[in-house]
Symmetry: C2
Subunit: 392 residues, 2 copies
């Protein structure tokens, strides 16, 4: 299948706030070959990724992303891997390229699955997609009482796992943090899975993070996410050694498989969190899942936008029965919800499973995309290099 077109669609809520809510905008990628249309999604800064897709070449190792893929043949997973290697080489000095390529790569898997009439996870070598336990990802409340209320609400909504993060955590006293943790545990109940996200608040300060371990252990937290800067492997490694029952989680910023491996090997995490929209798509994410299995640690998706991104993010570990926890966008912005006709909803057991339809199995709602579509244009030297494409 020859890749005939690659189109980027920048959609956004009319108003974007500085809340830590990644579902306020999205960059969709549409790839066409013959009569097949496939979709993918890049994570973060749509305009920057669009620019990198068509930016004039700077030199041999800094070429525009889309031109490396257009016109190429994609007939098997090997072709996607070949193109990934081309991107790595030809876009070596184009930092944004990993994010941009991620969306294209996801669309290529969707394309291949549609052509072969199989779900993507089967193309990845899995026989079966196992159900996952979605966790409700939310911010800590401003007060412990608020945290209690939020966690109770998540439990009442049927969630068996809840993640509390950011907000006041790590910014006040140890007692403040302990109070929030107690409240979170009380809110979700004894049997709920409690996940804590520090949002990099401790920088590289291992002692400050370690001081929270007793309280985390006291509430039986399953993981302690991003206590440090995502690249501070030494700090992760040191903290991992000091923790008894709570495992570290991290890796969401990995924009290649090396970074994920380092988070595992040097950082000693027990949960490796991969965003398919950043790491280069589904292929490298699957490599990380395989690596995690080999190392006896758990793979988790990182997703905070649409159900298209969610579906893509589950494929790499869909067939791993024991890797059950799954990030699930709980209160996405209307844009992020409406742009997909297909949604991955929890079943009666509160679990989710990816569609069995060909490719990613997510139907795009073109009318909704149109509603939120941002008109953009990039001109260089008098030539229009990008213009929001037609949805037709």
């Amino acid at each position: 299948m020859k890749i005939e077109s690659i189109d980027f669609f920048y959609i956004s809520m009319p108003v974007v706030t500085d809340a830590g809510d990644g579902s306020q905008d999205a960059l969709l990628v549409r790839v066409r070959s013959g009569n097949i249309e496939a979709w993918g999604e890049c994570e973060a800064s749509p305009l920057t990724s669009i620019a990198s897709s068509i930016a004039p070449m700077s030199h041999g190792a800094c070429r525009p992303v889309s031109a490396q893929v257009l016109g190429e043949d994609v007939s098997s997973p090997k072709d996607i891997a070949r193109l990934a290697a081309t991107i790595q080489w030809n876009c070596m000095d184009l930092l944004q390229a990993a994010h941009t390529w991620s969306g294209i790569e996801i669309a290529l898997w969707d394309l291949l699955g549609k052509k072969e009439s199989v779900p993507v996870y089967k193309l990845l070598g899995y026989d079966k997609a196992y159900p996952k336990v979605p966790y409700a990802s939310q911010l800590f409340g401003d007060t412990a009482q608020e945290t209690l209320t939020l966690c109770k609400a998540a439990r009442d909504a049927g969630y068996r796992a809840v993640k509390c993060g950011w907000g006041p955590f790590g910014r006040g006293t140890l007692k403040d943090d302990a109070d929030h943790l107690q409240a979170a545990r009380e809110g979700i109940g004894k049997d709920g899975t409690l996940l804590i996200d520090a949002g990099q608040i401790f920088g590289e300060d291992v002692d400050a993070a370690a001081a929270r371990l007793p309280a985390l252990e006291g509430v039986n937290a399953t993981w302690f996410e991003e206590p440090f800067n995502g690249s501070a492997y030494e700090a992760y490694g040191a903290l991992a050694k000091r923790s008894r029952t709570v495992r570290l989680a991290g890796g969401e910023a990995a924009h290649n498989t090396f970074m994920a491996r380092h988070t595992i090997d040097y950082g000693g995490v027990g949960f490796i969190q991969i965003d398919c929209g950043r790491i280069g798509g589904i292929g490298p994410a699957k490599q990380v899942a395989d690596y995690a299995v080999g190392k006896g640690i758990t793979y988790v998706n990182h997703t905070f936008t649409t159900h298209l991104a969610l579906c893509a993010s589950i494929q790499p570990f869909a067939g791993l029965k024991d890797h059950k926890i799954c990030e699930y966008p709980v209160r996405p912005q209307p844009m992020a919800w409406e742009m997909c006709k297909t949604h991955i909803a929890p079943n009666a057991q509160g679990e989710i499973v990816v569609p069995e339809a060909p490719g990613l199995g997510i139907e795009i709602d073109l009318a909704a995309v149109k509603k939120y579509l941002i008109d953009a244009e990039i001109k260089v030297g008098g030539k229009v290099l990008y213009k929001t494409p037609s949805l037709a």
Copy 2:
């Protein structure tokens, strides 16, 4: 000093080829405060960095770069560090931000130096700028005979150090590589410093790279640069252990100080190569230089564009007397040469030293910038977010 404006100028040769020549285009940054005008430069993909400077916010951790700096006060090095921390936090999910911020950060040092009437290296805490030995960075010839001719030419031009890289190296037999290495040594003479750059050709294949060690040792090569992918720390570390006299060099892609430290600590390099236009500017580069000193290894700049970028790249290790080797763009494209009125030329001893003038001490040739200026425009939702600014 309040930052009143940040302007990006994209300049380029009329024709850009896929040669590995980073001097074919450049992204200049002009910062103004009061009556002071300062300049910096970002490395690679001008259009993408411009887009990231003004891209609409995606969420709280993905904000446009320039808005984090505009209107801020910069009166001391601490203010630059404060802004760097802001960028790291507010642009956490904007991958390109590190490259974009690098050019702004360099301009801020130029600004501060001009305000204080001191060269930047003094602001960094150095008393004196020591001369460096520029190395001629060139590609291997297609044949060993060509490599010989090229290295002879560099020696005749007065270079005491030569780097040969990329081209056929690592792509043919061991014998082919050995022939090229012998030719290079013969060309630059017994006393010349010979540096070899494998251009990541071995991926992660430690054995393939190690097979070249005897030939490298045989010609007394000083360093073996980027045998592997820049993030393949494990491979670097394994090769470093197998090498006796030849030290590894790497780090040019580091877009934060963590990556540089990992290249040193996990990768075991003997030379850490930092590009100020990528790592976040002069401040983090100086941190890496300090770290290198502490670890007993050598800091080297990575520069392949203009003398503005060259001058910025030398500041972080200007005061390190024993860190003498310095990358020097030997045959930059006319654009890269002409845009600076001030050039850092080798003295009678074949050594170079940064200007003693305030700031970076590089005067920009506005007429030349105008000659190579690329007209670009970015419109989002009908609003022009970027338009090539006036040089006046």
